[in-house]
Amino acid sequence: MFNSHSTSKNHLAPILVDNISLELNNRLLINGISCQINAKGISVIMGPNGAGKSLFMRCLHGLATPNSGQIFYAEKPLSPDIQKQQSMVFQSPTILRRTVLANMLFVARQRGQLNPKTSIEYLAQVQLEHLAQHPARLLSGGEKQRLALARALITRPTILFLDEATSNLDPTSTETIEKNLQLVDQQGTKIILVTHDIGQAKRLADDVLFLNRGILTEHGPARSFFKSPASAAAKSYLAGQLVL
């Protein structure tokens, strides 16, 4: 269930990222990121390919452990219990070798959600209920992403991480998913999403984090970011230029 029904965004303790760095294969891939992310609303992470967006998200979710620095959720350091309240949709989602419905049921069961009807309802939200008995690995790329999203939503997370979760979707599906996300946002789930779709970022974002070469170059309200990005990297990214 959701933590709180408070309407004030500032009322809840935020997510605190305290100077995290991550080095893999002698490459400094996350370079001293510190920030404070609101506990509600939609935060969008943007940045060029290889900037470290996926890695940063993995750190936030506890799938990668930074070499230094710490992450706090409501003043508590990240732990499996906190991780359980979060859900992540991966850039290329893992699909269990089972039917679409069985994929839902597996996740639902992990969170004590035993009624198959609920799974069907969540499938319906992403227009996949007609494929419930279909082998999930035979779904199209976009259908897989929708299944992954439904799987993430059925856990009713307090924080939902989405790594380019709509990158393979057609315009109609993208719109449906965005509506879904806005609904989930209104219900109080925090959403952190990575996207290269500037239109989508403008439609959804409350605030934007811009990453370049493992550095958080700026973090601010969406409106001011899109109106006047502060860093040169963000400026050229938004202008569609290669960031070097």
Binding site: L63, Q83, Q86, S87, M88, L96, R97, Q110, T155
Partner: protein, 235 residues
């Protein structure tokens, strides 16, 4: 008629009349192979799973050793088991030499590495695919292990079939430790070897046909499993 065609005719006759000796040999062969297979799976599948999923020191070395052991020469295994079970050997007091149990032990030594190495590979691939998702969901270890085995069931069954194929057709080890004693440790492969050397081809041929049939059936079954798994997108 020539010896050649006579032998075939007599062999078919043995098959058609379900000759008592033939049935006995067949029965023992299948019993020994299935028992060693069952024991090897009981031992090998969990080891394969642990090697696939857990990271620990020496893990890679162990995987390498089991992979190498897949190619153990049966006669050498037979010889080693013989040495251990013979009266002067460390396990001589068990009195197992020249019994079906000795054959089962030898076959287990041959099959278990196959089960371990192949199942490890299958589960390792699956783990590579599932691990991030499972750790994101914070899936308990046991649940994950069950999910791995369920989702890899087709490939794992193929692994088991490979083990059975090796067991039923193997001759070098069982002839040394079993001794090919009539009505006691004579199995298809050892009977074929003996009958052929005596020049009595009909029993050898009849058994050969059965062995060939089993081998083909196992392979067709494995093929069918693969196709089914593919159709249902389990691989």
């Amino acid at each position: 008629m020539t010896i050649y065609s006579e032998s075939f005719f007599a062999a078919f006759n043995l098959l058609a009349t379900a000759d008592k000796d033939l049935v006995e040999i067949l029965y023992l062969s299948i019993n020994v192979s299935l028992l060693s297979l069952a024991l090897s799976c009981f031992l090998g599948l969990p080891i394969g799973a642990i090697l696939a999923i857990r990271q620990f020191p020496m893990r890679n070395l162990l995987v390498g050793i089991f992979n190498a052991m897949m190619g153990l020469p049966p006669v050498v295994v037979g010889l080693l088991v013989y040495l251990h079970l013979s009266r002067s050997g460390p396990f001589g007091w068990l009195g197992l030499l020249y019994t079906p149990e000795a054959m089962i032990i030898a076959q287990m030594i041959l099959i278990t590495p196959i089960i371990i190495a192949l199942s490890c590979q299958v589960l390792e691939d699956l783990n590579e695919d599932y691990k991030d998702f499972f750790s994101s969901l914070v899936v308990p270890k046991r649940t994950a292990l069950v999910a791995y085995i369920v989702d890899a069931r087709y490939s794992l069954l193929t692994v088991v079939l490979a083990g059975f194929g090796r067991a039923i057709s193997e001759v070098g080890a069982v002839i040394i430790v079993g001794g090919n004693i009539d009505h006691l440790t004579r199995v298809m492969t050892t009977a074929i070897a003996l009958e052929t050397s005596k020049g009595e081809l009909e029993l050898a041929l009849a058994l050969g046909f059965i062995l060939l049939g089993i081998s083909l059936a196992v392979n067709f079954f494995a093929q069918w499993l693969k196709a089914t798994a593919k159709r249902r997108a389990y691989v």
